[in-house]
């Protein structure tokens, strides 16, 4: 699917799109984003039980469906298109991937089936205040205590952190390496608080660890590579989510100008509007090509020697977030004053675009990361 989707993938996408049109139209998004939970448990149940979205890329051995990152990214793209508020990204994309990458067999047996069934919601507490997802700057520490470990430090921007039953946390090991740990969300020594998110459809939390007891996933060498690959896969899926949102904004803006008249003619007939629409199409198509290529690369890693997954994931994240924001700015502008109102849906995607610029690191951060991993 580097350059084309299989029929199965297309069917999966269509099925998902119909489901979301039906179960998560914008009126529902607006209703859910005002609730404390921030997602609809019934929709979440259907996503898990009826559609198997929570199981997509989890290996069959651990209760998953054993599909690839490509399918996961398709789901993220459709969720982004619909602006679905749900713990899908935090639990399925981020936390499950971290466990699958870092955990040993017993840990995966213990933790993944619950996430895969949707019964357990997990969250990945890695980023820290101010410094974000740069692992070199992670300051939270883990110290051994008997058979287990105790974590101390502050985490922030934890996606779906309040909804989570299970937390995967990144902390520095005594030797300086990075460890990934799991602990129940209601553990003693772990306090969490919701953050005020600019985008009310993306729920974030901060977490304070004060000697909270936790289990190290895999060995002491597992955390570093597992985090790197988790960030890659999350960036790829976020790119998918963003191109889904950008395409929706582009289509809606085009529909709006095609329906509206000004000065006795269709707004869509103004050459400047036409050229802007053409540029928007170009931008979104280029960003899609990157998102799809990177997702495919995640599934056949190592095939593109010049550009390993980390380079491609960062390329896709950077270009998708620039495109999403630019598309959102154009979309508001094409709507005119009405596009700036709360009642017009454009603003919902605008805020998601704004939030996505920063989530997992800015485009500039990822361009730098892309070159660090580029082989040439």
């Amino acid at each position: 699917m580097k350059f084309n989707f299989s029929e199965e993938q297309t069917d999966f996408r269509n099925m998902l799109r119909r489901f979301l049109q039906d179960r998560s139209p914008t009126s529902e998004v607006r209703r859910i984003m005002e609730t404390e939970a921030g997602y609809d448990p019934e929709v979440w149940r259907m996503m898990a039980e009826d559609l198997g979205l929570t199981a997509i890329h989890i290996p069959e051995a651990y209760g998953g469906a054993g599909f690839g990152v490509s399918e996961l990214a398709i789901a993220a793209e459709e969720a982004g298109r619909a602006l679905l508020p749900s713990p899908f990204f935090g639990s399925t994309v981020m936390a499950a991937t971290a466990i699958a990458e870092a955990g040993d067999d017993a840990q995966k047996q213990a933790l993944l089936p619950g996430i895969s069934s949707g019964g357990t919601i997990a969250a990945l507490a890695a980023a820290e205040p101010g410094t974000g997802w740069n692992a070199d700057a992670f300051a939270a520490t883990a110290r051994p205590d008997g058979d287990g470990w105790r974590l101390t430090g502050r985490k922030s921007y934890v996606l779906d952190g309040m909804a989570a039953d299970l937390v995967v946390a990144a902390a520095r090991l005594p030797e300086g390496g990075l460890g990934l740990f799991s602990l129940p969300a209601d553990s003693a020594g772990l306090t969490r608080e919701p953050l005020q998110s600019m985008d009310p459809t993306r729920r974030l939390a901060k977490m304070d660890f004060d000697g909270a007891e936790a289990e190290l996933l895999g060995g002491q060498d597992a955390g570093g590579p597992a985090w790197a690959r988790t960030l890659d896969i999350a960036a790829v899926c976020l790119a998918g989510e963003m191109v889904g949102g950008a395409e929706r904004l582009r289509e809606d803006a085009l529909e709006y100008v095609s329906m509206r008249m000004q000065f006795g003619r269709s707004i869509a007939s103004f050459q400047v509007t036409k050229h802007k629409a053409a540029d928007m199409l170009l931008d979104v198509e280029l960003a899609k090509a990157a998102a799809y290529y990177a997702a495919a690369a995640a599934d056949d890693d190592g095939e593109d020697e010049e550009q390993p997954l980390s380079a491609l994931a960062s390329l896709a994240k950077a270009t998708a977030s620039d495109t999403y924001m630019q598309t959102a700015i154009h979309a508001v502008q094409m709507h005119g004053g009405i596009g700036f109102t709360h009642d017009n849906d454009t603003q919902l995607w605008f805020k998601r675009a704004k939030s996505s610029e920063a989530f997992l690191g800015t485009a500039a951060d990822h361009r730098e990361r892309m070159l660090q991993h580029w082989n040439a």
Partner: protein, 418 residues
């Protein structure tokens, strides 16, 4: 009153103020005194609350007010547009009825031009005014009406002739907002503020004598209002506050300012806040990041060059030189500045750009910047309209061929308002 010098004026106003100014008076009482003396609006005609002085003398008079901290007549908001329009086009009845209330601040106004179906195309208004039994009956819908939710009167542009061509079928009305046929809804924006309203008319009534200007000449009258609006726009872009001195009159004035400025409370953020960039970068620990520095430098450069360009325009004007293109490009420059600043603020904030309110590290100021900057390229004429104006009026490029001004308005394709 034609033989006087600047010094004469200065002495005269100072005398009058010394005798009469007292910060413990009520605001309305004081303004009525100003109106009676003519010192409130010295360039207005003597028969209408002024002294018939040349406009150039007004700053002189204001300086003397400022020296004592004396409060002036009500000057902010849409009321100034109402006053200018009524002075130029109104009948004696209109002037009699409205000017004093405008100047004392007791009656407030809103502008009822824009409509949901026409956007920047103000002359495409389809709100209708029909003459029935000697009264105008108004039906339709307006939008983007600042302060309409507490306005006493509205400046209304409505269509009275559907067979005339677009600009010639409109008439202009002074409408009483406090009546059953007028319904006002506040319009919430994506940044959470509600600076505008929607106004719905269902058989609202305007007495025949409160139509202003000739029948079908509404566009001409509206041009006066719009000209004063453009002139005042620079002022509105800055957020005003009242004096912080003690005294009853200052308290009353502060309350008035707060009401008038409420819709504009987020306007500083709309500009992108170039002034905050360096300090924010230092606070956020990103001042040393070369990629961030490039964006900060770009934003500061645009902000400074836009400011210098505006000052070039102002100084040329003050020196009586023909204004160059720098005057008309300010609005467009402001959009570019705001976007560059939003980009730089986003990079500076890093992950905190996802947050708002108490959590974004700036009490929500940066978050408000990020969701407010899109407004600057729309409100007061979109970027596209500005580029049309620049290319046609400054660069003398050909106008777009119009398809809406060459036929009865009835036949012009237009939106269905739903």
């Amino acid at each position: 009153m034609t033989d006087f010098t600047e010094d004469d004026i200065r002495a005269e106003v100072r005398d009058w103020l010394t005798t009469n100014w007292d910060p413990d008076r009520g605001l309305v009482e004081w303004r009525n005194m100003l109106i009676d003396s003519g010192w409130g609006v010295p360039h207005w005609p003597e028969e209408w609350h002024g002294r018939g002085l040349p406009v150039g003398m007004t700053p002189v008079v204001e300086e003397e007010f400022d020296k004592l901290g004396a409060v002036g007549v009500a000057k902010m908001g849409i009321r100034t547009l109402a006053a200018a329009t009524i002075l130029e086009h109104g009948t004696d009845l209109h002037k009699q009825r409205f000017l004093r209330g405008i100047l004392t601040g007791e009656e407030t106004w809103c502008q009822l031009f824009s409509e949901p179906g026409s956007g920047s195309d103000l002359a495409g208004a389809v709100t209708r005014a029909d003459l029935r039994d000697g009264k105008w009956i108004i039906n339709g819908q307006k939008v983007w009406n600042t302060s309409a939710h507490h306005a006493d009167f509205g400046l209304l542009l409505a269509r009275t002739d559907w067979d005339a061509v677009k600009h010639q079928g409109l008439s202009y009305f002074l409408l009483d907002m406090r009546q059953p046929g007028v319904e006002v809804h506040q319009l919430k924006q994506m940044n959470g503020h509600a600076s505008f309203n929607q106004v719905f008319f269902t058989d609202a009534v305007v007495e025949a004598e409160y139509q202003i200007g000739g029948l079908g000449e509404g566009w001409k009258v509206a041009t006066t209002t719009l000209m004063h609006e453009r002139r005042g726009a620079d002022g509105v872009r800055r957020y005003a506050t009242g004096s912080d001195r003690p005294g009853r009159i200052y308290e009353e004035e502060r309350a008035e300012v707060a009401t008038v400025m409420a819709p504009y409370v987020w306007y500083p953020q709309r500009t992108g806040r170039a002034d905050m960039l360096i300090e924010r970068a230092k606070e956020a620990g990103r001042w040393e990041d070369p990629a961030v520095r490039q964006e900060i430098a770009k934003a500061l450069t645009l902000a400074r060059t836009a400011e210098w360009t505006a000052r070039r325009a102002r100084e040329a004007q003050q020196m009586g030189r023909p204004q160059g293109p720098e005057g008309s490009i300010g609005k467009l420059a402001a959009s570019i500045v705001a976007r560059a600043c939003a980009k730089a603020h986003t990079m500076i904030a890093g992950p905190d750009a996802m947050l708002t309110g108490d959590d974004d590290g700036t009490g929500g100021v940066v978050a408000e910047i990020l969701v407010s900057t899109p407004a600057i390229s729309i409100a007061g004429g979109t970027d596209e309209i500005q580029r049309n104006i620049i290319s046609e009026r400054i660069l003398s490029m050909p106008k777009e061929v119009r398809h809406d001004t060459d036929r009865p308005f009835r036949d012009v394709p237009r939106n269905q308002v739903g």
